[in-house]
Symmetry: C2
Subunit: 237 residues, 2 copies
């Protein structure tokens, strides 16, 4: 079965967490909206009155007869099917919990450049963004990444977030480090020495054959100023 | 087995979604931080170096040897154990997806009064909050609640979000309506006529014997100005 991923074709965004998991799984998938007529297909599916489980927003995944929305829900589905999550209940819940904490961080990273409303231009909330980004860099990056650093420290050398085996949460943490480095290069350069295990995990994920191949392919959309992680020099302390 | 819920004792907050599910399930639980010495116990558990699965933040639930954080993760665990989620994969994923959409709405509701940073006082971000709340009321409440209204419409008269049976997502949607009415009474009064199925679902949940009993008990903490949903007259259009 070929998965159909539906997400905005111009950005990494939340879809990137799904793309990374599909790539690491070696899954057969098509990134629908990036193909010819794909946007129309995505919009049709979002309007489709006949779907039992209409998604609120992209990304969503079509897997045979299933239509699944919300990034963390998609990942829990894929993780179970492709060995990218622990099999037992405790481990499965733990990886889901980690992913939701990553999702919280991702939303806060987005809101640094859009603290008032996603529907307004950045230029219409620049002053507010400057205040929000300063707090995010000073308080939130260390709190979130320090948490994951601590989780990795408990698990011992060479371990992943959920223990000895890679999970989709590791792929997501890799992506968060990538995104924060793009958005806040100066802030990250100043903080990374406090995060040796997180950075080492990032590097190990980047070096995995399927991920390395993906990152150097055209399937990986470059970071840009339309996604969740954006680089505005004035926001990077 | 008695569940131990850990959450801030003065507010409904995110813990309320867990409380409602435990109450509807008729589960044996203790709201630890509201008891004598409970806050110290909660803080100790958050610091505890020996936990394999340390929570990032409250709420978290202790269920025998399991320690589970993140509201939606806790609810997926409780839903499966207490018949408050569909048994099949498709239904289970659907309710999880709905819950994550509710979580997005809840976070946006919070950020209307704290758009810049949760660590700053409301008084230090009043002007920004006024802008954020206006967008939230005008764009986001109709978008989110309109989505749930549409889901309910597909399911037919008397149905719940996931079909014929109540799930934890219904309890959560009840709580969202309660919270939005508290925070934005004028805005909600103006919008509720567009949301007949959502309001009817709210009323049916409120009338369930265990929920009605809970809501009239001292276990239900009243809304106040410290929680996620806060009433500032100047933010209510």
């Amino acid at each position: 079965m070929r998965y159909e991923l539906y997400y905005w074709p111009q950005i990494q965004g939340r879809g990137e967490f799904v793309r990374l998991t599909l790539e690491e799984a070696g899954a057969d998938y098509v990134d629908v909206a990036r193909g010819k007529g794909g946007m129309a297909k995505m919009e049709k599916l979002m309007r489709r009155k006949s779907s039992d489980h209409p998604p609120f927003a992209p990304p969503f995944l079509k897997a045979g007869g299933l239509l699944i929305g919300q990034t963390a829900t998609i990942l829990s589905f894929l993780g179970a099917r492709h060995g990218l999550a622990p099999k037992g209940d405790a481990g499965r819940l733990w990886v889901n919990q980690l992913q939701l904490t990553i999702a919280d961080l991702v939303l806060e990273a987005h809101d640094t450049h859009h603290p008032i409303a996603a529907s307004l231009y950045y230029e219409d909330q620049k002053a507010e963004a400057a205040r929000a980004a300063a707090c995010f860099i000073r308080e939130r990056i260390p709190k979130f990444l320090g948490y994951f650093e601590n989780v990795l420290a408990r698990n011992g050398k060479g371990a992943f977030l959920a223990g000895r085996a890679l999970s989709y949460a590791d792929l997501s943490l890799f992506q968060v480090v990538e995104g924060l480095r793009y958005a806040f290069p100066r802030a990250m350069a100043a903080q990374e020495n406090q995060l040796p295990r997180t950075i080492a995990l990032h590097d190990r994920v980047a070096a995995r054959p399927r991920i390395a191949s993906y990152l150097s392919s055209e399937r990986r959309i470059p970071f840009n100023q339309h996604g969740i992680f954006r680089h505005y020099r004035e926001l990077d302390a």
